[in-house]
């Protein structure tokens, strides 16, 4: 295929950034499209025609397709944009907790969203910093314009998927004020959120997943080893892959990203596949509104994830693992990149892992602002340099996943559980909790709770007990969004529900990704529900009709109901919402569309909105 490229030339800075990130492979490397676009964004702040053409030329990707990819992701801009942008969370966890006030203050100081040549601001979906609202993600391009004449300097600074320092000068601020945001937009250094502060149980007894948070230095391999790190991998290598897969199966570990699929089933399928090439993927694209547990794990204990991925990769016979980390998580990305580089330097990754003769290495890839990429097959498309559109299943990833090869894809929390299972054995893990719900579980408490943060409790703990840990059942509690925007609301009379897959299902709810977002009776639920509906309308990939159009119609109908402007009366509007709900739930391609009506449905059933 001959590429037809637009005549626009890339600037020296754009070319240097792309070259540093992806070089000149000489053949099609579509999988480097996102790293290349990130490099351009990180260097100059937007993707020009010349830059896109240059990327296409390097990677042998048709420009129309590359443009389709660039315009899919919210963190990429194909029109000129200020090189320093503050993404301000106005999602359900932040809006009423300072987010809307912050938006108003920034609008006053900086003008409308998107305006401004040097600095600007924009609204954002949940940034995963809900325990310290309001949250801001700073997308800051670097180097600045003065380096444009010096390609070597640009090269040195530009990002590379293989370096241990990420590109750009991105940062998170939470809680944010207009003043801190403006100073950070002017280039001032920002202290990232301290994950230990977000872990009220840190250093306490009876922790497994969070046991090293605040105990180990996340940048120091020795500190991790001193806390028992890499004992799991050593044991896994000693007992052999088949035994490790068995232990995971016996443990009855289920996926912690929201879908709760049995992990052992995935591992056994890939381990048993005759296909010589296999992959392990870690889904660190945590974007479910209200969720921040994986961020805390990665920031505070990155070696644990690297070790767990190594155990998993070797157990299922993969030589390469991909870690797809959310683009709005620069601190987590930095921590992981540092840990990967350290592990590699000390022989914990590479051609001969811990002298075992087994090869395994990791590549870290950065997402670019798309909730849908948390869906496993959309994430794989994104890794391959495609639009993050979910694939039809079957075939399932264990049969044809990343690059068409058998792939195990697991969430961060799921993988970190592996270390404990390898150390203690599957039966010990399975003895905690009940039924399919075994082990401990992380919950993300935010909203009107006294001590918001990540909490670890054994499966089966009740919602009331969990709230007690966070300072007690909030006074005047009206509803809890359980499981995220794709979950549902529960009410104060349901606090004795045991937090298990089975227990939550019994009351028509879900554990989801562990979101426990609390609202009191002062809450404007109409605003909350409209934000959730708007979220799904924004984040739908647009591939299938039920979700692409259904999310729009759901948001419109909800707007009419809360404004008292129903067409043909309340009953008819509720029927319309139910009809849209059913087609999205029944006929959407993926979980996004299938759960896009869940929170609205439960809010209507509980009378949180639409009361007349």
């Amino acid at each position: 295929m001959d590429l037809v490229l637009l005549p626009d030339a890339a600037t020296e800075a754009e070319r240097a950034a792309v070259d540093a990130a992806v070089g000149s492979p000489g053949h099609e490397r579509r999988d480097l499209l996102l790293p290349a676009f990130h490099a351009v964004m990180d260097a100059v702040g937007w993707i020009s025609r010349g830059a896109l053409s240059y990327v296409c030329d390097r990677l042998h990707v048709p420009p129309a397709e590359a443009y389709g990819v660039a315009t899919f992701y919210a963190l990429f801009s194909v029109t000129p944009r200020a090189p320093r942008t503050a993404h301000v969370c106005d999602d359900v966890g932040c809006a009423a907790f300072g987010g809307e006030d912050l938006c108003a203050a920034l609008e006053e100081r900086l003008g409308p969203p998107g305006s401004g040549e040097e600095v600007t601001w924009t609204r954002s979906p949940c940034l995963g910093l809900c325990e310290r609202a309001p949250a801001v993600f700073l997308q800051r391009a670097s180097p600045s314009a003065e380096d444009e004449g010096n390609p070597e300097a640009t090269r040195a600074l530009a990002s590379s998927p293989h370096d241990d320092a990420p590109g750009g000068d991105h940062a998170q601020i939470a809680p944010a004020t207009a003043d801190t945001v403006l100073r950070a937009l002017d280039g001032e250094d920002v202290d990232g959120p301290d994950p230990v502060v977000s872990t009220p149980q840190a250093g306490g007894p009876d922790l497994e997943l969070l046991s090293r948070v605040g105990v180990v230095d996340p940048g120091d391999l020795d500190s991790y080893r001193a806390a028992g790190g890499y004992a799991g991998l050593r044991r896994a290598l000693a007992v052999g892959s088949a035994r490790v897969v068995d232990e995971i199966t016996v443990a009855s570990l289920t996926g912690r990203g929201g879908a709760a699929f049995p992990t052992g089933t995935k591992w056994a399928a890939v381990a048993g596949s005759p296909e010589p090439e296999k992959y392990l993927v870690c889904n660190a694209d945590e974007s479910e509104p209200g969720t921040f547990k994986d961020r805390v794990l990665m920031e505070a204990d990155p070696f644990a994830l690297v070790e767990a991925m190594t155990v998993a990769g070797i157990a299922v016979g993969a030589r390469t693992g991909y870690l797809y980390v959310r683009g709005e998580y620069p601190a987590a990305e930095r921590a992981i990149l540092r840990a990967v580089a350290e592990a590699r330097r000390h022989g914990y990754l590479g051609d001969d892992v811990m002298g075992s003769g087994r090869a395994f290495d990791l590549e870290v890839r950065r997402g670019a602002g798309a909730y849908i990429c948390g869906e496993e097959t959309a994430l794989m498309n994104s890794l391959e340099g495609r639009r993050g559109e979910p694939r039809a299943k079957p075939p399932f990833p264990t049969v044809a996943g990343l690059f068409g090869k058998p792939t195990v894809i697991n969430n961060v929390e799921t993988l970190v559980n592996v270390l404990r299972i390898v150390a203690e054995g599957g039966p010990a893990f399975a003895s905690i909790g009940s039924g399919r719900s075994t082990g401990t579980k992380l919950f993300c408490l935010s909203g009107v709770v006294a001590r918001p943060g990540v909490y670890e409790v054994p499966m089966g703990t009740t919602l009331r007990e969990l709230l007690e840990l966070a300072g007690g059942v909030p006074p005047d509690l009206r509803a809890i969004l359980l499981g995220g925007a794709a979950g549902s609301f529960v009410t104060p009379d349901q606090l004795d529900v045991p937090l298990t897959l089975e227990g939550t299902r019994e009351i028509g709810a879900t554990l989801g990704s562990g979101v426990v977002l609390c609202f009191d009776s002062t809450t404007d639920f109409a605003a909350v529900l409209r934000r959730i509906a708007g979220f799904f309308r924004d984040e739908s990939c647009g591939q299938c009709v039920p979700c692409r159009v259904g999310t729009v119609r759901q948001e419109e109908a909800l707007a009419r109901i809360v404004r008292g402007r129903e067409i043909g009366g309340r009953t008819i509007e509720l029927q319309l919402l139910r009809d849209v709900d059913r087609v999205m739930t029944d006929a959407s391609i993926c979980g996004l569309g299938q759960t896009a009506a869940s929170a609205v449905r439960s809010a209507l059933a509980l009378g949180l909105i639409g009361g007349s």
Binding site: R49, P62, T79, A392, C541, V545, V549, R553, D586
Partner: protein
């Protein structure tokens, strides 16, 4: 000696559809089985000469063991599979897909089948309120992923926008585009391998676009017109057809079709000349033709002017 290609010998599997057992070759889709049984299964993004993308979801059926409905166009049959098409759930989803599309798109040129399914399934797009104002030219392609204006619900959002005419051969009327991906597939690996267009943007704001929405003459487009050939809704059509429709002289009832073989090269593509008022208005090729699979090149599809160059009085 004449050889007869028997194809790959495929095992037969047993599939039950609405309590009736069918035998189908392994690798067939559920839709193949339904078609063989004579069922009228609605479809929009499916085409016999393209890889299924199962995006429109109008062909969904129930499959025992699957919680969500299953796209019959893409799902391959398995031995012992139990399929239902006669349930209220299936009817509801099909109706809603047709209704949601009609609420956002102009389906007036989507053909008789779509019009019939709209009535048969009871689609009622008007219940979402009056349509909102159309977008200005190019505006829909410039929306940033993840951001949209908050609606008040007084009107329903649509994809209405002006027709794009940027070349002499065909127009792009994206108010009719249902994002079935067919044109992208035909431009890409399913036929032409030109990759001039792709889906850009996200969600309801997704569009079919060249890079930076540049006009087709600035893109990789080679004007094979295969995108027109597969478009199910009239979003892509020849300038000749567009102009006649605009002038009110488009006359599908009076159209005749003449089959011939393309004379431009030695490949031997089968052509169907669509003639209205003694003038060729479109050229197509049958999708089951062994050479073309329905796809043509610029010469076959648009190089017919010499056939009808009638000398004006006084010319020689």
């Amino acid at each position: 000696m004449t050889t007869v290609d028997l194809g790959t010998i495929r095992r037969l599997v047993s599939v039950t559809v609405d309590d009736v057992e069918h035998r189908a070759p392994e690798g067939a889709t559920i839709m193949d089985v339904l078609d063989d049984a004579g069922a009228d299964t609605p479809r929009l993004c499916q085409a016999p000469n393209l890889t299924p993308v199962n995006a429109c979801r109008v062909c969904v059926v129930e499959v025992e063991g699957s919680r969500p409905l299953v796209p019959s166009c893409a799902r391959k049959v398995e031995d012992g599979m139990v399929v239902r098409t006669d349930t209220e759930r299936v009817a509801h989803s099909r109706k809603m897909v047709l209704e949601l599309l009609a609420s956002a798109n102009d389906l007036s040129e989507a053909g008789d089948d779509v019009a019939r399914w709209q009535i048969e399934y009871g689609a009622d797009p008007e219940r979402y309120g009056p349509p909102g104002p159309p977008a200005a030219a190019g505006e829909r392609g410039n929306r940033h992923a993840g951001h949209h204006g908050i609606p008040d619900g007084e009107t329903r959002a649509t994809v209405a926008q002006p027709v794009t005419v940027d070349n002499d051969l065909y127009v792009r009327d994206y108010a009719r585009c249902i994002l079935c991906y067919k044109c992208v597939e035909a431009c890409g690996t399913d036929a032409q391998n030109t990759f001039a267009i792709a889906v850009a943007g996200r969600g309801f704001d997704a569009t079919i676009s060249t890079e930076f929405a540049v006009p087709l003459p600035d893109s990789a487009c080679v004007y094979c017109g295969n995108c027109i050939g597969v478009c199910p809704t009239g979003a892509l059509k020849s300038v000749a057809e567009h102009e006649r429709r605009e002038a009110g002289t488009w006359d599908p009832e009076g159209e005749t079709v003449t089959t011939t073989v393309c004379s431009f090269c030695g490949v031997g593509c089968s052509l169907e000349l669509h003639v209205q008022d003694n003038t060729i208005v479109n050229v197509t090729s049958p999708s089951d033709h062994s050479v073309t699979h329905g796809h043509l090149c610029i010469k076959g599809r648009f190089g017919f002017q010499h056939v009808q160059n009638v000398a004006s009085p006084g010319e020689h």
